[in-house]
Symmetry: C2
Subunit: 201 residues, 2 copies
């Protein structure tokens, strides 16, 4: 019902491929140019401009996708019935593949592409802070930092580990879950237990 003609399909496929390689390429080299993106997508520079009039439009699309996916995961995981620390553990496990997929977020987060785009991540931060606050009120998380900061730091720990480790994914995600839980003030025992039980989820 949405699209029909093989033409439109092929066009969307091209656009999708551009987005894919851009996410990958800008993740590794945030200052890559439109020419690099085009080459990686097996397309001519001019064609990229056909889909994205300006570089910023491309980046914004990436940011929107990332923020959307992460927000969806967070919303899905942060239900009032589950303890906050368990919700966080689940969050990290489901965030993990995205953390690699959206290495661009590292660049986005530090505002490398301007404020407009940086603010797209704002809603994620807000949701994160809410979860953290809930955990602090329940005594599950520490209060060595206010909720919003604790959320950002815990979140950045996950990305830092994703950026650092490139071994067995199963081992790495476990390390990320444990470490980020420790950041939030969860005890080592509880952190290990959560990381293990969330694996079988």
């Amino acid at each position: 019902m949405a699209t029909q003609t093989a033409r439109e399909l092929a066009m969307e496929e091209t656009r999708a491929r551009i987005i894919d390689v851009a996410r990958e390429l800008l993740g590794q080299r945030p200052d890559a140019g439109m020419g690099d993106v085009a080459a990686a997508a097996g397309v001519v520079r001019r064609t990229v401009y056909g889909h994205f009039p300006a570089r910023n439009d491309l980046v914004r699309t990436l940011a929107e996708q990332a923020a959307g996916e992460i927000a969806a995961v967070l919303e899905d995981v942060d239900v009032a019935e589950t303890p906050a620390d368990e919700a966080w553990a689940r969050f990290v496990h489901r965030l993990w593949p995205l953390a690699h997929r959206y290495r661009v977020l590292l660049a986005l987060r530090r505002g490398e592409y301007g404020d407009e785009i940086h603010e797209l991540l704002g809603s994620v931060d807000a949701m994160l802070a809410t979860l953290i606050r809930r955990g602090q009120n329940a005594g599950a998380f520490g209060t060595h930092l206010p909720p919003d900061a604790l959320g950002r730091i815990g979140y950045s720990a996950v990305f830092a580990i994703a950026d650092d480790r490139h071994g067995d994914p199963a081992l790495d995600v476990r390390a990320a879950a444990i470490t980020s839980l420790l950041v939030l003030g969860v005890s080592a025992e509880r952190a290990h237990s959560l990381a293990d039980t969330s694996l079988s989820d």
Copy 2:
């Protein structure tokens, strides 16, 4: 015995001022140009090139200073007699002013200025890993990550907090110490105790 003439002194003063503002400016905006640096130093662009033939020379100087100062602190603090976790707490307290001074390090660390400069930070990483390994062997730190990675992540946590918090320095450094100790697998009680006793040091 080193330098005498007022001329040479004034020149060194100019050079020092350029370095100072460059550290500050590139810390906030890593992509600032030589023109920006010059303007901030109250000098003409051409003069900056007089002291630093290429932009990279300026950045390298900054990186060398930063690596040197941090290595000095680390060497000073990591003595075999003190428990590793206490050494870390002291390290964070003395690193804290530098973390603000050398916000450039954030950019350096992610290799934004090329590999050559990135490697200047290598010795710091190595010293960090040694300290962590000592702590792990003594049971003071966790083993959820290998020593080198744990060192980098703990270190990056400190910088992440420095980047995030800009309130009361005394409170912020305490939060940074506690949080980074938690990352290393130190218990919350011990972390708080270390953060407090290191304050009176």
